[in-house]
Amino acid sequence: MRLITHNMLKCHVKNCTDPDKQFPLRFKDVQLEQIDAERNDEFLVRMLPRIDWPALSKTTKELDITLPETVPGNPEDDEEFLQALHTAILETHIKQGSMLCDGCGHEYKITNGIPNMLLAEHEI
C-alpha cells in the first residue's frame, strides 16, 4: 500500500465520526519497502490539491520520511519538492502491519501490501 492511498482512507466504523481521530489512520508495526518508480510529475501536480497535506505531513513524520512542511507556491517547478513528494507517496510501500483508528480503536490489517478494510458485524 502506498502513502497516497493511505492519505485517502479514513476509519468508517459506525459512529466513529470525529474527523480529527478517524483520519489519518495511524500506522502500527509496519514493514516498509522503497520501490523505485518512474517520476510522474503530471500526476503529482494534478493530485496535489486532492492530497490532505497536514495528514500526509503527520504520517510521514511518524514513519520518519522527509517531506517539506508546506507545499511551495510553484510546485511544478520545484524539482526537490517533486522528488520528495514522489518518493513519499508513490515509492514508499507498506507491505505488512496495520492502520489504527485513534477514535474507535479498530485495527485495519495490511497483508502483502493490501489493506483489509472490511468492517466487523458490530461496526456496520
Partner: protein
C-alpha cells in the same frame, strides 16, 4: 473542414460513435459527422476533421476504428468514384514519385486476389510513378467495396457503395492481442475481455495525470488498461481472494501483481484494498478522475455487501474462540448478504457524484432484460450527465456500457432520481436464472 473516412472494425457496432466522441474529447480534436445519418450496418463513416495530422491523433487510441483516410472519392459505381477523384488532380502531385501501396477490401464479400489486382490497376489513371511497396510505403491508399450484410447465402454481386481514400492514421486494435485474457497471467471467471476493457479506458478518458478507481475490481482488468494509457489506477473489492490470487483461474502467481508485472504498469497501478463499496473508507471530497467498473450482476459473481440476513447480530463479533474475540481472529470474515442490482447501481451513482472531480467520468456496465428495457431504466443523478449508452446484446439479455460525466459539485448525500417504474435491471439475478439460457 476536410472530409475523412473512418473505417470501423466489424464488431461492437453500438459502441462506435461513443468511442469516437470520447476520443475527440480526450485528444482535443474536433470531429463533425452526421450521427442521425449513420447506420451501424456500414463500416464507413465520413467525418470532418481539420487536418490529416489531427485525424491521425484522433484515432490513435481507438479500439473500434481500424483506420482513418483522407476522403478522395466515393460512388455507387467505379465510374462515379473515378469522376469524383478526378475532380482534385492537384492532390495527386504530392505522391507522384513516392512509394505507394493499395489495400482493397470487400465488406460483406471476400475479394479474390485477381479482383483486387484488377481494382488497383483501374486506378492507374492517377499516374503514380513511384515503386509499389507492401511494407512501409510512403503513401497508402484504401479502396473499400461495401456490399453490406445480408441474410442471403451468397453475397451480392454488386457493391452498395465504393470508397477511396489515403490512409493517414490507424487505431490501436493491436492492443487487443496484447491484453488478450488467454495470455494474461492471472484471471478470474468474470474477467472482462480485452477489447471492451480497452474501450472502457477510452470512455473514461484515462490518460497521464488522471486517477481512475474500480470499486469492483475483481482481477483488475480496468486498472491495467487505464494504466496502459497513462492513468494511475486504484481498485477495491469485497472479495480479497480475487485480488490476492487465492481464487481465480491461475493461482500461485500472487494475484493481480502478476498482471501488473506482465503489462509493466507497476508504477501506475497504485494499490488495491479489500472493502465493501457500500461501506467504504474513502474520505470526503472529489478524489477520482474516473470510476470504471463492471459491477457484479449477481449471475456468475454473487453481488454481496456486508450484513446478515434478517439483521446483524452484533454479539457474534465478540464470541471468544481460542481466547480471541471472533472479529479479531485472523480468519474472521464478516457476514454478507445479497446486494440487489438496482441498489448496486444507484449507490454507484451516488458515490460517483461525490467522489469524482467535476468533469470526471463514471463508466459502468448495466445489465438489462432485452424486451423489458426502456431508456428510462438508465438511472440518472442530478450531478451526473448521461453521455453514452452502448448495448452489447446476448439475445434475451444485454449489458449496456453507460458513461456519465459529473457536471456539478454534489452536496454530500444527494441521491439519484427515483424511477417511475422498476427498471429492467432490478432483481436482475432472479430474472437471469429464471428466464435465460445459461451463458
Amino acid at each position: 473542414m476536410p472530409a475523412f473516412i473512418l473505417q470501423f472494425a466489424h464488431c461492437h457496432e453500438d459502441f462506435r460513435l461513443a468511442e469516437l466522441d470520447a476520443l475527440s474529447e480526450l485528444e482535443g480534436v474536433a470531429v463533425r459527422y452526421d450521427a442521425a445519418g449513420y447506420s451501424a450496418e456500414s463500416p464507413i463513416l465520413v467525418v470532418e476533421i481539420d487536418s490529416a495530422a489531427s485525424a491521425a491523433k484522433l484515432v490513435r487510441r481507438a479500439i473500434l476504428i481500424r483506420s482513418v483516410s483522407e476522403y478522395w472519392g466515393s460512388g455507387a459505381t467505379y465510374a462515379e468514384l473515378f469522376a469524383e477523384v478526378k475532380r482534385t488532380p492537384d492532390r495527386w502531385n504530392e505522391f507522384m514519385q513516392k512509394s505507394f501501396k493499395f489495400t482493397v477490401e470487400g465488406f460483406g464479400r471476400s475479394l479474390t486476389q485477381k479482383e483486387k489486382v484488377a481494382v488497383i490497376e483501374s486506378f492507374s489513371f492517377l499516374g503514380f510513378e513511384g515503386p509499389i511497396r507492401m511494407k512501409d510505403a510512403e503513401a497508402e491508399f484504401l479502396v473499400c467495396e461495401e456490399y453490406g450484410e445480408t441474410d442471403l447465402p451468397v453475397p451480392p454481386e454488386t457493391p452498395k457503395k465504393l470508397w477511396f481514400g489515403r490512409i493517414v492514421g490507424r487505431g490501436s486494435r493491436h492492443l487487443i492481442d496484447v491484453f488478450d485474457v488467454k495470455k494474461r497471467k492471472y484471471l478470474g471467471n468474470t474477467t472482462m475481455d480485452a477489447e471492451l476493457s480497452l474501450v472502457m479506458a477510452n470512455q473514461a478518458l484515462a490518460q497521464p495525470g488522471t486517477l481512475v478507481y474500480d470499486p469492483f475490481m475483481g482481477t483488475g482488468s480496468f486498472l491495467l488498461t487505464c494504466a496502459h494509457f497513462g492513468a494511475c489506477s486504484m481498485g477495491s473489492d469485497i472479495d480479497g481472494r480475487q485480488i490476492r490470487g487465492t481464487a481465480g483461474f491461475r493461482r500461485g502467481v500472487n494475484g493481480i501483481s502478476a498482471n501488473v508485472a506482465q503489462y509493466q504498469v507497476a508504477d501506475r497501478v497504485l494499490g488495491s484494498a479489500v472493502f465493501d463499496i457500500s461501506r467504504n473508507p474513502w474520505r470526503a471530497g472529489a478524489l477520482f478522475d474516473a470510476i470504471v467498473t463492471d459491477p457484479p450482476y449477481g449471475v456468475r459473481a454473487g453481488a454481496k455487501r456486508l450484513g446478515r440476513k434478517n439483521g446483524t447480530v452484533p454479539q457474534k463479533s465478540f464470541t471468544v474462540i481460542d481466547g480471541v474475540e471472533n472479529y479479531k481472529r485472523s480468519d474472521y470474515y464478516p457476514p454478507t448478504v445479497a446486494y440487489e442490482m438496482s441498489a448496486v447501481v444507484s449507490d454507484l451513482l451516488a458515490f460517483a457524484a461525490e467522489r469524482l472531480v467535476v468533469g470526471g467520468r463514471l463508466v459502468y456496465w448495466l445489465p438489462t432484460v432485452a424486451d423489458e428495457y426502456e431508456p428510462e431504466d438508465v438511472p440518472l443523478h442530478p450531478a451526473l450527465r448521461l453521455v453514452a449508452n452502448s448495448e452489447q446484446p446476448f439475445g434475451s439479455w444485454s449489458r449496456r456500457l453507460i458513461t456519465m460525466v459529473k457536471v456539478a459539485a454534489s452536496p454530500e448525500g444527494a441521491g439519484p432520481q427515483k424511477a417511475a417504474h422498476d427498471p429492467a435491471h432490478k432483481n436482475f439475478r432472479d430474472k437471469y436464472f429464471n428466464r435465460f439460457e445459461p451463458l
